[in-house]
Amino acid sequence: MDYDFFLKLFLGGLTRGSIYALIALGYTMVYGIIELINFAHGEIYMIGAFTALIISTVLTMSGFPALAVTLIAATAAVFYACCYGYTMEKIAYKPLRTAPRLSALISAIGMSLFLQNYVLLAQTSDFLPFPSLIPDFEFWEPYAHIMSAPELAIIVTTIIVMVGLTLLIKFTQIGKAMRATSQDKTMAMLLGVNVNRVISFTFIIGSGTAAIGGMLIASHIGQINFYMGFIAGIKAFVAAVLGGIGSIPGAVLGSLILGWTESFFTGYISSDYEDVFAFLFLVLILIFRPSGILGRAETKKV
């Protein structure tokens, strides 16, 4: 077996998996708290990428230095994605807290369709070239043949976000409130947790990480389109389910597994059926282990 090729696929899978993980985190956190598949999550990721593109183009053309452009565009993208996530929750999900799950799910699909077409009408349906926000680091030069510097940046960013998020959930007040809410919403409310605030916060954090993922993948692939959120969103969802939806380490594990399998599948077998494969994976997991690898089996109350 060709060792270099294997390594390349391995690292490619790691990059892919990291990005899935950034998106999957949002799914898993939202599901953990309000048990809703936020179909529009992929769209938030797309909006993050679009905002980054628009802001960075405007800044570049007004003559800002490259590093400042990257930083400002990234901050703006994350900020805007958070705002979108917050507003979306207020409009499409909050009025449906007590409604049947089917209603909330349909509302989420509607939101996804709405946001996609909103971007399509406001911007364009064409693929837009996306500038490389991450420069090639010089110190990485000797290793560039196995993995490019932007890929390294993706992995490092993902690790930083993961660690930050874990610390946030484990040690801060709001993190504690989030854990309490995800266990039992009513009980948390009785104990003085402001559940509405916790839910908003979850949406904001999830949207922020999705936007980071969106920007990274856009600058890695080099082009964006209003439709990009859908497939990425579904795949991130597959990853979240694979790891066990509701569990944060599960989302990371699931994303890495999906990233690697996809990478090896396209490398060694065929790239035609790449997406088919992800969906097949999903169907198989849900049939044989719906609670995922790290998820706990749900007991249903009567």
């Binding site: 598949i37 909006i47 679009f50 905002t51 593109l53 628009i54 802001i55 183009t57 405007v58 053309m61 805007y80 705002c83 507003t87 409009i91 499409a92 009025p95 449906l96 409604a99 049947p100 799950r101 089917l102 209603s103 909330a104 799910l105 349909i106 509302s107 699909i109 509607g110 939101m111 369709l113 709405f114 946001l115 996609q116 077409n117 909103y118 971007v119 399509l120 009408l121 406001a122 911007q123 364009t124 837009l128 070239p129 996306f130 500038p131 859908f230 579904i234 389910v241 035609d272 059926y273 997406d275 088919v276 969906f279 097949l280 999903l282 169907v283 849900l286 049939i287 719906p290 249903k300």
Partner: protein, 405 residues
């Protein structure tokens, strides 16, 4: 609530949305020609629109909150419905409807007839999906896959074996049902949202296979020259073909309505509705959950399969691009808008959603964004749909009798 406070809240909402939509609505960059277009007008529009929308939104939410908890069975039936239940209104209405339907292709142009055919195909799809979602409460996001199965069945069976429309029509339904069972069988254990995702995945798998498996389905270029249905070997002009197809689809829709109407009151129909309300209670009553769900899937898919055959005959061309997930969402939208579970509602919903964008060419660009908004708004404000389904309820009337003792 005083006016000043309302004004303040509306202003806050307007400013918030102006800010929120700023990068996407106002700035338009062209990275190829390196130009930026500033569209300040959009910002003004959004500000004004959201000022009023937010006031409306708050009013509607308040209205909805006032009405919750005020549930009274029997009182909810609308005036039109009550009128139609009476025989002296029902019979003339039906006669009028029949005459309009029959005379339609002769009183309007070929173009109108063709639009009507596609609208009626959606009616059929909506009614089929209504079995799965409206009656059994299973959210199927891959419904269009069965539609694709029907359409490709006709295209391929004609291409390879020279089969005609009338031979394929029942076969399309059968293949749809088989696919429904194949998909339904493994996913029966899943609950609502997982089921939605799996069916979505299944739908995409079918589409991607059709797109990539060139030897089987000719890939993205699709299959052309599918014949329209023949009438006893007569030579028909294009117009006559369309009229003939129109009557076929009308007959199929009537057949669908008939079957679903009968199904609703049957043992299976009752079991579906019970299953939708409470799975556990339903099982406790001795209903075989798996079998009941499987029947819903299979029956829903049957109509989609047949609608697919008609679709292939109408367009004489099929390719995978017609069967994307968004097609499933449109069908879902027709069911939700009309009213889940109500036959009249689904028909009205499908006709409205398909015909309005056709005739209002100016707004057809905004079709999908409106569909998205419709789904959200309907769920928030009127989850029952426009024509709400009336549940059969049993009223206990012996109460006074007992107290009189």
């Amino acid at each position: 609530m005083n006016l000043l406070q309302e004004l303040k809240q509306s202003t806050i909402a307007a400013v918030w949305f102006m800010f929120l939509t700023f990068p996407l609505m106002v700035i338009k960059v062209n990275t190829v020609t390196k130009t930026i277009e500033w569209r300040w007008w959009n910002m003004a529009f959004i500000g004004i629109a959201f000022f009023f929308l937010s006031a409306l939104w708050r009013y509607m939410i308040k209205h909805k909150e006032k009405n919750t908890g005020k549930f009274s069975p029997g009182k909810k039936i609308s005036a039109i419905r009550k009128r139609l239940a009476e025989k002296r209104f029902f019979v003339p209405a039906m006669v009028l409807l029949t005459i309009t339907t029959l005379a339609f292709p002769y009183s309007f142009s070929l173009y109108q007839t063709n639009i009507m055919i596609s609208a009626l195909i959606y009616v059929m799809l909506g009614l089929g999906l209504n079995i799965v979602i409206g009656l059994a409460g299973l959210l199927d996001l891959g419904y269009v896959a069965f539609f694709a199965v029907g359409a490709y069945a006709y295209a391929l069976l004609h291409l390879n074996f020279g089969m005609t429309f009338w031979m394929v029509l029942p076969l399309g339904g059968l293949l749809g049902a088989i696919m429904g069972i194949i998909l339904g069988y493994p996913v029966l254990r899943l609950r609502g949202d997982y089921l939605a995702i799996v069916t979505l995945g299944f739908g995409e798998i079918i589409r991607l296979v059709l797109e990539n498996w060139n030897e089987f389905s000719k890939g993205p270029s699709g299959i052309a020259n599918i014949p329209k249905p023949g009438l006893f070997g007569l030579d028909l002009t294009l117009q006559q073909h369309s009229i003939y197809l129109y009557y076929i689809i009308v007959a199929l829709v009537i057949f669908t309505i008939f079957v679903i109407n009968r199904l609703q009151d049957s043992r299976i129909g009752r079991a579906w509705i019970a299953l939708k309300d409470d799975e556990i209670a339903c099982q406790a009553m001795g209903i075989d959950k798996a079998k009941t769900k499987l029947r819903a899937f299979a029956l829903g898919a049957t109509w989609a399969g047949m609608a697919g055959v008609v679709f292939a005959a109408k367009t004489t061309f099929v390719n995978p691009a017609s069967f994307t997930i968004w097609e499933s969402v449109i069908i879902l939208c027709t069911v939700v808008l009309g009213g889940m579970g109500s036959i009249a509602g689904v028909i009205a919903g499908a006709l409205m959603l398909i015909l309005l964008p056709e005739y209002l060419r100016a707004v057809s660009e905004y079709r999908m964004i409106v569909f998205g908004a419709v789904l959200v708004l309907m769920m928030v404000f009127k989850p029952g749909g426009l024509i709400e389904n009336v549940r059969k309820t049993y009223h206990y009337k012996g109460h006074e009798h007992i107290t009189a003792e």
